[in-house]
């Protein structure tokens, strides 16, 4: 795969801008945004937690689209299928990272603010299940024998894609049927003061840009690894041909 001449500079520029955006956004979150009337300074974690939560719901769809692409191109255009598979695993890994951050920061916030590490309300449980599904995906990729890995993982991804909305609805019904303590007073964004919105939007954009950067880097890494694998396979075939001559 020839090295692209524009990707390098674009990548560096994107990284630089993303880093600058993250620094700016963090400053906005920690210093500029006004203190919350009820929670004091603890609430500032919202600027880190919520963007990661929202974004961790986006990457699974990238994974699903890539997996469907893989299954479609598998017999029709194997080279495109390889690229789709690389995107699928990158998206899965980024999902797990963002999901982990969402869960961990949420737990920290919950412990400080409401005195509990966890509760089985529908948002937390759905998030946990999403995280479990993608960890299972990564485990399947790790444990399956090479040659099969991509197809099996793509199939699992389709299952996970079907499952996620079902999980969300089922857990929502579960948690609205039984009374459960309401620790989140509705959607925080709906009650967010306009003066906090700039900080929030900056953080959302910065972490989205960072996610795209991670995704792309991982994708390129995977493509490089696939190329090496193919080169090694080709060399093995050529070597075996020389032996028979």
């Amino acid at each position: 795969m020839p090295r692209s001449r524009i990707l390098g500079p674009v990548g560096v520029a994107w990284f630089g801008l993303t880093l600058a955006a993250i620094i700016y956004a963090t400053r906005m979150a920690l210093v500029v945004a006004p203190t919350d009337a009820l929670q004091g300074n603890v609430f500032r974690i919202i600027f880190y937690h919520v963007p990661h939560s929202m974004l961790s719901l986006v990457w699974p769809y990238v994974n699903l689209a890539a997996s469907l692409g893989f299954l479609y191109w598998q017999r029709r255009d194997p080279l495109k299928a390889l690229a789709a598979d690389a995107l699928a695993i990158s998206a899965a890994e980024v999902t797990v990272v963002y999901g982990s951050i969402c869960l961990l920061t949420g737990m920290l916030w919950g412990k400080v603010e409401w005195g509990i590490w966890w509760t089985w309300d529908y948002r937390l449980t759905s998030m946990l299940v999403l995280w479990l599904l993608y960890v299972a995906y990564l485990m399947l990729r790790k444990l399956s024998s090479t040659g099969q890995t991509q197809t099996l993982a793509a199939v699992l991804s389709v299952f996970a894609g079907i499952d996620v909305p079902i999980v969300y609805m089922s857990i929502r019904w579960w948690r609205t049927q039984h009374p459960s303590p309401i620790f989140f007073s509705g959607d925080p964004e709906s009650k967010m003061d306009p003066s906090m919105m700039p900080a929030f939007l900056w953080n959302l954009s910065a972490w989205a840009a960072w996610g795209v950067f991670l995704l792309t880097m991982r994708y390129l890494l995977e493509r490089r690894r696939q190329d090496n694998e193919q080169d090694a396979a080709l060399k093995a075939i050529e070597d075996s041909l020389e032996l028979t001559r």
Binding site: L143, S145, T151, L156, D163, V167, M169, S170, W174, Q177
Partner: protein
């Protein structure tokens, strides 16, 4: 041969093989019984409380029991390179899957048939809601576990650490179904709320995932 003819052949084959050794069924039965006893020791429920938790315990016990048997159901295809023969056979691969899933369903249903009376005895149960609905919930729940379980067991056939992989994939995917079957069973036993929503969830789950399994099995079988 028609599609159903193929399914019937596969089903008969699995039933025959299982009948000769009776490995899976005995293993499942004893395992479920042990799980029930261990849970009783763990929770020591009163009659009122047992109605709340019996649904959960029953389905968890069945989940673990089914998992132990599901891996085994595919290993008999690995011996003597039978799997390669299956891939080369002109019968549709989804017929193989469906036959095997139905066989597993029958085995787990047999285990349930033995386990359910035991439950009634151990936990002193009688349904306060509409008891006959259990005849609807049990098959639906069992099919949800068995259908996905058979598919994922096939996925894990040539992986290392095969036995580990099945629960790792099956449990997260089955969470909505587990929720549905446990809630429905608890609703029927305790009579405190309506099981209708959960039964509908189970039906929708089964439809969605049976379709997905049938459509994707050929891809999974031929993954190489």
């Amino acid at each position: 041969m028609t599609y159903l003819g193929h399914v019937w052949s596969h089903l008969r084959k699995d039933l025959h093989l299982e009948w000769r050794s009776r490995d899976s069924i005995n293993g499942m039965l004893f395992f479920s019984l042990l799980v029930v006893v261990v849970f009783s020791l763990a929770f020591d429920p009163t009659a009122a409380m047992s109605r709340e938790i019996a649904g959960g315990i029953l389905w968890v016990a069945l989940l673990f029991a089914a998992t132990t048997a599901l891996n085994q159901s595919w290993t008999r295809e690995l011996r003597n390179r039978v799997l390669e023969a299956q891939r080369m056979a002109p019968s549709p691969p989804s017929a193989l899957f469906l036959g095997k899933a139905l066989a597993n369903f029958l085995f787990v249903a047999l285990v349930e048939a033995v386990l359910a009376p035991l439950f009634v005895v151990f936990y002193d149960l009688h349904a306060l809601g509409q008891g006959w609905l259990l005849w609807v919930v049990m098959p639906l729940g069992t099919w949800a576990l068995v259908c996905n379980g058979t598919f994922f067991a096939a996925l894990g056939l040539r992986t290392r650490n095969r036995e580990m992989l099945l629960p790792l994939i099956l449990f997260p995917i089955s969470i909505p179904a587990l929720l549905g079957m446990i809630q429905a069973t608890t609703a029927i036993l305790s009579g405190e709320f309506e099981p209708g929503l959960w039964i509908r969830l189970l039906i929708a789950y089964n439809l969605a995932f049976t379709t997905a399994c049938l459509l994707l099995f050929e891809t999974a079988l031929n993954a190489e």
